[in-house]
Amino acid sequence: MLSGKKATRYAIALFLIISLNFFIPRSMPGDPLTNLLGEDISLTASSVQELRERMGLDRPLSQQFLDYWHDILRFDLGYSFHLHRNVSDLIYDRMKWTLLLSLPAMVMGAILGTLLGARAGWKSSALRRTQTGFIMAIYCAPPYFISLIALYLLSYKQGLFPLKGFYSTGSALDIAHHLFLPSAMMTLFSLSRNYMIMKGSVLQEKGSLYATFARAKGLYDEQILFRHVFKNALLPIITLLALDFGFILSGALFIEIVFSMNGMGSLIYDALLSRDYPVLQGSFLIITIMVVSANLLADLLYSYLDPRVRWQ
């Protein structure tokens, strides 16, 4: 399915991006030590020297490059002097919460968005036009704005959901209670994106000759949609789904800030504000890997769904 040529291309892309991650802090103006540790760390002259030796910054660049790859392959992403923890541990801790928040939301948004969008594109009705208007409004509004309104109305005014955070308590039911509103918000945004694209895609596909021929064979109404048009209309959606998946860790940034949740988004956000470079670098590395593998996934999905891609 996946040709060797394509696999090599992905491997090269990954190698280049990760190498770039090595060169950027070393070629930025100023002391690489500061660039690697973050600017707000104050150190004595002796500890600077000690750290420089420990991190291998006194060795030649080629040696540093090999060391860097050696660390990467052992998932050693450095040490955060702000949070006093290994970056890989930090990311691992935060990642699972973000995945818990966004993975179900993304899957639900994809399924609901494509199904509702497909039916809205297939046939118009007063109900579906109202639905499209509502989803269009969500699609256009900034996520943090809608999230803030939901937080204000449902949590603050009605007291239905907790106002912030979620992880300390432990019980599964309690976590679910905390997760529901932010997860619903993310579902809604993912749904609105998939809905709009799928609606347009179905509108375009339903005018094609094969859809008319399906009707001429005796297929009735939504039989034509689900047996013929849907799969063809799904093809443009795959790119969008792959993008969503690639940014699954960073995409929840605004939601995590609004709902004060300790996920990857807020980790990156805090690291930006405090210039915690090791954390930023580690996070970007993970995001890079996610985006590249999402592209790979899209490639595989395309060749699974579209024989024209498979047989090229």
């Binding site: 094609s208 094969y210 064979k217 005796g218 039989q223 013929h228 799969k231 024989p307 024209r308």
Partner: protein, 324 residues
């Protein structure tokens, strides 16, 4: 329908199109694509509608099955087994389509779903109308494909983009014939295929049509193809039928000046083009629509001629011209 003579064929009419009008609302105005169409299709016969591209002949084919886009409005009647097809609802039409009346389109490669194996597409009418389970429908579809020389192991699991235009045309014919419909409508089946391939496909189509005892409504611009396979021919010009009769008579003794001019376009008849160009269907000429291009025109041709019966050996000869 009393103005039609009893048919020369031994069989009774299966489909009666009576005073059908089709028009399309477009941004440029109302396109009158078919005007006052009266046709009878008899059991087991092949009726060809011939005319230049854009004369409205394909519109008739799609109108019968209610397959026109939503900007089309259709008036009149098309009686099939006692039911008026033009007034049936979508659910009832879906039962008739594919099962009683099947159609093949002029662009086979675009008419097939690009991401579905051809055997599955051929099998679909069996699953939809006969509710056969998938594997049985597909094995029947493979049998059908093998009759159209697509029986080798590889073809049924192939996709339309891997097959040639002629092969896709056969796939489409196999799909249309799999339920042995009573009527097959073939909309320009020879378009996009080279001469010999078109003849070959047409021969196979005619063979299977005779075998299942179906009637064929052939829509084509290819006069020789019409002559070869059809029992009767209706000549269409600018949305109107101008002449109808048995194929032999139309070719041996054309009556309408347009039919004569059309036959003169054939290479073996001297390759003489018709002067002028096809008129607009938004704003068609007054009176006889062929008047501006006619060599034999008279003053009264500015009044619309009626379709009249003409004496002939085969009976059933009609022409829309003031000369007769």
């Amino acid at each position: 329908m009393n103005r039609h003579l009893p048919s020369s064929s031994y069989f009774r009419p299966l489909l009666c199109i009576d005073e059908m009008y089709v028009s399309f609302d477009t941004s440029l105005g109302r396109v009158k694509a078919a005007q006052n169409i009266c046709l009878e299709l008899h059991e087991r016969e092949t009726l060809a509608i011939v005319g230049e591209t854009g004369c409205g002949k394909s519109v008739i084919a799609s109108a019968i099955l209610q397959l026109l886009p939503s900007n089309a409005s259709v008036k009149g009647k098309a009686i099939f087994l006692g039911r008026d097809l033009l007034s049936l609802g979508e659910r009832e039409m879906a039962d008739i389509r594919g099962q009683e009346i099947a159609i093949i389109f002029q662009n086979p490669s675009l008419s097939l779903n690009p991401i579905m194996k051809v055997a599955e597409q051929v099998a679909e009418p069996l699953q939809i109308h006969r509710r056969l389970p998938r594997h049985r429908a597909i094995s029947k579809a493979e049998d059908m494909l093998s009759r159209f020389k697509l029986g080798d192991k590889a073809s049924p699991v192939m996709y339309p983009f891997q097959l040639s235009g002629g092969m896709n045309q056969r796939v489409m014919i196999a799909t249309s014939m799999i339920l042995s419909p009573k009527i097959l409508i073939a909309d320009e089946p020879s378009k996009g295929l080279d001469q010999s391939l078109a003849r070959q496909v047409m021969k196979e189509l005619a063979g299977i049509k005779d075998e299942i005892g179906a009637s064929l409504l052939l829509i084509t611009h290819d006069l020789l193809l019409a002559k070869e396979v059809s029992d009767r021919i209706a000549v269409m010009y600018c949305g109107e039928i101008v002449e109808a009769g048995s194929s032999a008579e139309i070719f041996d003794e054309p009556l309408h000046p347009y039919t004569k001019a059309l036959l003169n376009c054939l290479p073996e008849m001297g390759f003489k083009p018709i002067p002028g160009s096809s008129p607009s269907m938004i704003d068609p000429p007054e009176g006889c629509r062929f008047y501006p291009r006619c060599r034999e025109r008279l003053d009264r041709c500015l009044l619309s001629p009626k379709m009249i019966k003409v004496e002939s050996d085969d009976g059933d000869r009609e022409v829309r011209c003031w000369l007769y």
